[in-house]
């Protein structure tokens, strides 16, 4: 009796959890495929009549700046990721491969910085960005995304510790200088760590709402483009639903292809 009960309970709880996760998302998908008349006449759990009614998606793209949001997000994403990788790997190389005065101090600075909650210190960071004349520019976001990533540096250091120092030494004997060693040997070997950082930071930047909301009022990123639906579209839920689905789709695709990397990256990032 007990043997039969345990698996039943187990699968029942898993199925309930799956429904709790998927139901809120499914009803939004339903709404996004309904015409506005259909939306007002049917309940939220009624599936759409026509599963291929994409008119809401077209309107959402046309009326709001979703396309511009995607373009801006891609630009900010690409530059920030490249910057983070170069800055982070270089810093990790210095800290892991050199013995120099102030090394302990620098490590301490990185460590303490992970504790400062960046949401609140924006009160003061804002004054600095403003002072640099970067308010309302994409450069502000790029700078903030590159400058606040200490987790990436930790992931790089951790991975670099597993690259044998004898490789560096052999190259030094062959007359390579430090830059060549970093660029030709270390950086290529760091590829798995770079992939991890690209994925977890890429997702974080794509989802970031607070920084673009605060620093870039003049043009939308994807989060702020979606947020703009809150006012003017008021009760036009079929449009809001379509825009929401548009924002979620890239995440679904990324998740399906990169599952393993995402799990690994999160564990690496959290247990720093």
């Amino acid at each position: 009796m007990k043997r039969a009960l345990a698996p039943t309970l187990k699968y029942a709880s898993l199925i309930i959890a799956a429904v709790l996760v998927l139901l809120p998302l499914s009803v939004v998908l339903f709404a996004s495929l309904k015409t506005s008349e259909e939306y007002s006449n049917t309940g939220p759990l009624t599936p759409p009549e026509n599963w291929f009614n994409i008119s809401n998606f077209v309107t959402a793209f046309e009326k709001a700046d979703m396309l511009q949001g995607f373009i801006n997000t891609t630009i900010v994403l690409a530059i920030s990721l490249t910057g983070t990788i170069l800055i982070g790997t270089m810093a990790a190389y210095a800290v892991d491969r050199f013995e120099f005065r102030g090394r302990k101090l620098i490590m301490g600075l990185f460590l303490v910085a992970t504790l400062i909650p960046s949401v609140t210190s924006q009160v003061a960071t804002f004054q600095i960005i403003n002072g640099l004349g970067l308010y309302n520019t994409k450069a502000a976001l790029v700078l903030l995304f590159m400058g606040t990533d200490i987790i990436a540096i930790y992931i790089f250091i951790q991975f670099m510790q597993s690259i044998p120092v004898s490789l560096d030494e052999a190259a030094l004997l062959d007359g390579a200088n430090r830059w060549t060693i970093y660029w030709r040997i270390i950086l290529p070997l760091l590829k798995p760590a770079i992939a991890t950082v690209v994925i977890i930071k890429g997702i974080a930047i794509y989802n970031e709402f607070y920084l673009p909301f605060l620093y870039l009022q003049s043009e939308p990123l994807i989060s702020t483009a979606l947020f703009r639906f809150k006012g003017p579209f008021g009760a036009q839920w079929e449009l809001i639903a379509a825009a929401t689905i548009v924002v979620i789709i890239p995440t679904v695709i990324a998740f399906m292809f990169l599952q393993k990397w995402i799990y690994k990256g999160l564990v690496a990032g959290a247990v720093k």
């Binding site: 898993l14 799956a18 809120p24 939220p44 979606l226 639903a241 799990y263």
Partner: protein, 319 residues
């Protein structure tokens, strides 16, 4: 050249470097020696520069602003001492936001319990385990604004939740987001929906890194699933639970996105960070807002220090 004096203070640090930077060969030109000496600093310069500019300079400025009455424009010259701090703790309107954090704090324990339950469940062999793992985790990846809209839609009067409750005969549901006695529960549950996946994956990762021989040995000794959880899994993931615990405290104080997007802080749902942001950027009281930010920073630092004290890392390999 640099001496390792800065390092020798901490005997536990062992570095596997080549040590080339430390011992330059004699007889090289001084320019070359200087370059060799500078190499590590050049590599680390940009990272440290950005760190100082965007993390430490704001933190220091923030403390200075917090001691002044300042609107965010012009000179910071109206020194008021600790007045801003006194204001935070004595103005009931500001102090009330700490109460809102409690909802999220309690919610984060619910979240950890759910995550631990499913992580333990899926660590034993399960059909479709990849599917269930993916589904449980996926909400964590979704854009916060999108989640806000998904749940605005779910909670709206006559919406999904009301319809489902209607099936079970609950005909007169409350205004989930409009009623101030319920709104915080609704928002905190949204937060649980969003973040459980992260805890779950971290717990699952920790459980799976426990060597499987331990379970086999336990099974041979006749230990049941519960005993395996109690004596093998739980001790194996204590550290990650400790980590989740500090994230729960600092996280519940820094809640921003979900209440801001869903209710804009209306109906008693203003959190500490919403209050701080509004104080700074709408009411132009940067001094007061800085005092609030400094208080949050202090709380987070204290909590982290306590966590390090009670859950010390088994292996410290970085510092």
């Amino acid at each position: 050249m640099s001496t390792p004096s800065a390092v020798s203070e901490d005997a536990t640090v062992t570095l596997t470097t080549g040590g080339r930077g430390r011992k330059p060969h004699r007889g090289r030109t001084s320019g070359r020696r200087l370059l060799t000496a500078l190499t590590p600093y050049l590599f680390v310069a940009v990272a440290v520069g950005l760190l100082l500019l965007l993390t430490y300079a704001p933190a220091v400025n923030m403390i200075w602003y917090s001691l002044n009455n300042w609107t965010g424009f012009g000179e910071v010259d109206d020194f008021v001492g600790l007045d801003n701090y006194i204001e935070v703790f004595t103005n009931p309107k500001i102090f009330a936001v700490f109460g809102v954090s409690l909802y999220y704090f309690v919610a984060s324990f619910v979240q950890m319990a759910i995550a631990l339950y499913f992580a333990a469940l899926l660590s034993f062999s399960t059909r479709f385990s990849n599917f269930f793992r993916g589904v449980l985790f996926f909400p964590y990846l979704i854009n916060g604004v999108a989640i806000g809209f998904v749940f605005l839609y779910l909670f709206q009067p006559g919406g999904t939740l009301d319809t489902v409750l209607g099936w079970f005969g609950l005909a007169d549901p409350p205004q989930w987001l409009g009623d101030s006695s319920i709104a915080n529960f609704a928002l905190a549950s949204t937060s649980v929906w969003r973040y459980t996946g992260l805890n779950f994956v971290l717990f699952l990762g920790a459980i799976q890194s426990i060597p499987s021989e331990l379970y086999e040995a336990a099974e041979l000794d006749g230990a049941g699933k519960w005993a395996q959880f109690r004596f093998i899994i739980f001790p194996g993931i204590r550290r990650i639970i400790g980590l989740s615990f500090i994230l729960a405290i600092s996280g519940s104080l820094s809640v921003f996105e979900i209440p801001y997007i869903m209710t804009s802080g209306a109906n008693g749902t203003t959190t500490f960070v919403i209050q701080t942001v509004q104080t700074a950027f709408q009411f132009r009281q940067v001094g007061l807002a800085s005092a609030m930010a400094v208080i949050l920073l202090a709380i987070v630092l204290i909590v982290t220090w306590l966590q390090r004290k009670f859950f010390p890392d088994e292996k410290v390999d970085l510092t």
